[in-house]
Amino acid sequence: MITNILSRYRPRYVRSLVYMLQASEYKIGDYFAWLRRVKDFGAVEKRKQLTKSPKALFVLGLGWLLWLAIIACGVLVVFTTFTMYGYALGAIIVLASPFLLAYGIAALLLGVHLVQKPIGAAVISRARRSLARHTAVKIAVAGSFGKTSMREIIKAVLSEGKRVAAPPHSYNTPLGISAFVKTLKGDEEVLLFELGEYYPGDVRTLCNLVKPDIGVITGVNEAHLQKFKTLESTARTVFELADFLGEKPVYVNGESELARKNARAGHIVYDKNGAGEWIVESPHTELSGTTFTLAKGSEKMSLKSSLLGLHQVGPLVAAAVIAKGMGLSSEQIKTGIARTKPFDHRLEPKTDESGVITLNDSYNGNPDGVGAVIAFLASLKSRRFYVTPGLVEMGARAEAVHREIGRELAAAEIEKVVLIKNSVTPFIEQGLKDGQYRGEVLWFDDALAAFAALPHMTVKGDIVLLQNDWPDQYA
């Protein structure tokens, strides 16, 4: 209790506030929500640290100035009044300074936003004009999950026959995309964009910037539900891409129930069975990768990817069909598919010197992706450890989603389930009980303790799946 209160009066407090703002992507609402939950400000930077970006350093400087100004006000009151009331008021101002600072810094940031907004608008407007002049085919990927994977798959396949460019990392906001547009040479044949969705209207705004010719909708689920409130609202936002494209080609992931339900006539639905007239034959997945044959009439392509899990077949098929439509040969597609490999922290396998295989799936934090990965684990023969802190931002669906994960883990007969103590993992435990789980549940206070313990629990041949990360703002 005393430690918690004192944590507001330490010099590190300003840095903690700036870190919270940065981790909340400077979204004031998210920052306030986090602020209300924090008890010990000394412990907010747990999983990550403040990235010293120019903006963060600027806000940090601003924060210090503000804090000193508040304290100076308190002192000034004392020295100008020299009365009992003056002393009391001064003391109250100084004691309340951390609280005033926490909200004052947000107000200052709003001011910064106001200055930044017109500058940002000019940058975006320039990017829009530049893109309108660009002759490349523009492909846009939208969805609650799997966007980056889809983008990387399409990029790998199309690169076999076209000059393809796509924004790095997960640059999927108007400013991020605009920064990428500045780097284009002008001779690209295909531009690939990921459209991020945080609030209704986001996808429409991005479509107006990018003006895509082809769309891919990877799915709709509970991701960011806390912000969208309802799944219908999420679906409407994601399908703003289809609204924009109208008659132009839209590929929709049929394995996502909500995406499939919202698909319209003319949309090309893809899943592990195929896409359009293309049919998938003999799909197979193991730790070394996934193989299948894609057939249309007498035309057949035997494809092999290093991506893991049958849930990858659908996106691979969609990429192959898009490539075919853009004139790539079967041989080029085969080479392109062979080049696809697990991306950072997305079911990325690594074998350590003890022979333990770790599948890092820490960037996968959505129920559909989790279900697909558990299905993949179920197909493996070794002893399996499933490590998770649960999923964030599930809103009112948190209990249902996590109980389902528990039931899926029980059905897949995963030998060891490693849970991190927080508000949602007890639901996974409940789901395991629902599914009459017979394996062992291991609890850890935090993810770092679990990671430290894992090397001591595992032996050669074990498979450790690290599912999802749990950023500091959800702790």
Binding site: S354, V356, A453, H456, M457, V459, G461
Partner: protein, 388 residues
């Protein structure tokens, strides 16, 4: 979420030994880290400094404590630990108020003299507390390379021909001993009998080198072993766990970079790879013919039983690869880092390893408690005078 009452386990490490630092590594990786990871134990670290003083503070559960450049100085500023053997093993952390912690089990993690040689087991036996690993007798015999050879050879287990002598023997009658040594087939190995981790071991090919090597060995020990070297040498080692029913790890072959496997190979170079022990320089399982591998396992079990080992031990063998002959070299009653890298390869995780060792300690302790040690007699009454 479980909340059972945790057992208190004291891990003792460090000590007045050339292997003081290695002991710290073993204590943390895997012992303390794995015990903590089980969530079933309160771990009390007990560190014995190089001067023999005993210390304990919670921060010592983290190996980072011992990586601080000034850790020895920091430790010295602490108050020394007090011990009590009053019906169990208790440590008293001085302070105001002082804190008494009663250990349910002790996990010795001491290599070499005063730790692995039976001294610590004897102390814990007196305290009547369950402790992990070999008991006093096996530890004392295994610590003496010459005595180990004498004991196992008596059971018909093959060892290479050897000569041993003490400092006194050598100083008083050097020529006689040199004569005996001359009869062995050269080249020879000169070893201090009580040191582990290949410290002060020299391979010699002529009489001058022999004298120098004996001087070096006598610098560290007062008893020296001179033995024949094995030609076409393949060294293998076999970790074994158990009391009555034995569980074998994989036969492991250290892949030597130098003429023989020395301290640097074992700990310092291997340590850089992050595994603590020599996994980077090992072949697991050793690529030797199945017949030899089977023989190594059978001999390993026989040596373990002959010495009366319990808990865990590691048996080292020398194989003449051309003649396919196996010799038992030595026994190590606390393998560095418990050879956890090897156990992992045969499906025993660190947690399973330390948990099983704790269970074996409890089993041995329970069996010992059933023995009758005292009985009533009226001998004192008869001792009033004269002959008993």
């Amino acid at each position: 979420m479980h909340n059972n009452k945790k057992k208190t386990i004291a891990v003792i490490f460090g000590g007045r030994s050339a292997e003081h630092d290695v002991s710290i590594i073993t204590a943390h990786v895997p012992i303390i880290q794995s015990l903590l990871a089980t969530g079933q134990f309160e771990v009390v670290p007990i560190y014995i400094a190089k001067d023999g003083s005993w210390y304990s503070e919670d921060a010592m559960n983290d190996i980072a404590y011992f990586k601080q450049p000034d850790f020895e100085e920091r430790t010295r500023r602490n108050k020394k630990l007090q011990l009590s053997f009053d019906n169990g093993f208790k440590i008293i952390r001085p302070g105001f108020p002082s804190k008494t912690i009663s250990a349910d089990i002790v996990f010795p993690s001491m290599h070499g003299t005063f730790g692995e040689d039976g001294s610590l087991s004897g102390l814990l036996r007196m305290a009547n507390v369950p402790f992990v690993g070999c008991g006093l007798f096996a530890s004392a015999v295994a610590m003496d390379k010459a005595l180990t050879k004498q004991v196992v050879a008596a059971e018909g287990i093959p060892v290479v021909p050897y000569v041993w002598f003490t400092r006194n023997d050598w100083e008083r009658n050097k020529s006689e001993w040199k004569e005996k040594i001359e009869k062995l087939q050269w080249p020879l190995f000169v070893k201090p009998v009580h040191l582990g981790s290949s410290i002060a071991i020299t391979k010699v090919t002529d009489a001058t080198a022999l004298e120098n090597a004996v001087e070096v060995a006598l610098h560290y020990d007062d008893k020296v072993l001179v033995e024949e070297s094995v030609e076409n040498l393949v060294e293998v080692t076999l970790p074994i766990m158990g009391n009555d029913d034995l569980q074998l790890a994989a036969t492991e072959r250290p892949l030597n970079k130098t003429e023989f496997f020395d301290f640097n190979d074992k700990y310092l170079l291997g340590g850089k790879k992050g595994s603590g022990v020599n996994s980077a320089y090992s072949e697991i399982p050793a690529n030797i013919p199945p017949k030899l591998a089977h023989e190594v396992e059978e001999l390993g079990k026989k040596v373990y039983k002959t010495l009366g080992c319990s808990g865990i031990a590691r048996i080292d063998f020398l194989i003449d690869g051309a003649r396919e002959r196996i010799f038992v070299n030595e026994v190590n009653t606390l393998p560095g880092s418990l050879y956890h890298h090897n156990w992992k390869k045969v499906g025993v995780s660190n947690i399973e390893l330390v948990s099983k060792l704790v269970a074996l300690a409890e089993e041995r302790f329970a069996n010992e408690q059933k023995l009758t040690r005292t009985f009533k007699s009226d001998i004192l009454n008869k001792a009033s005078g004269g002959k008993l």
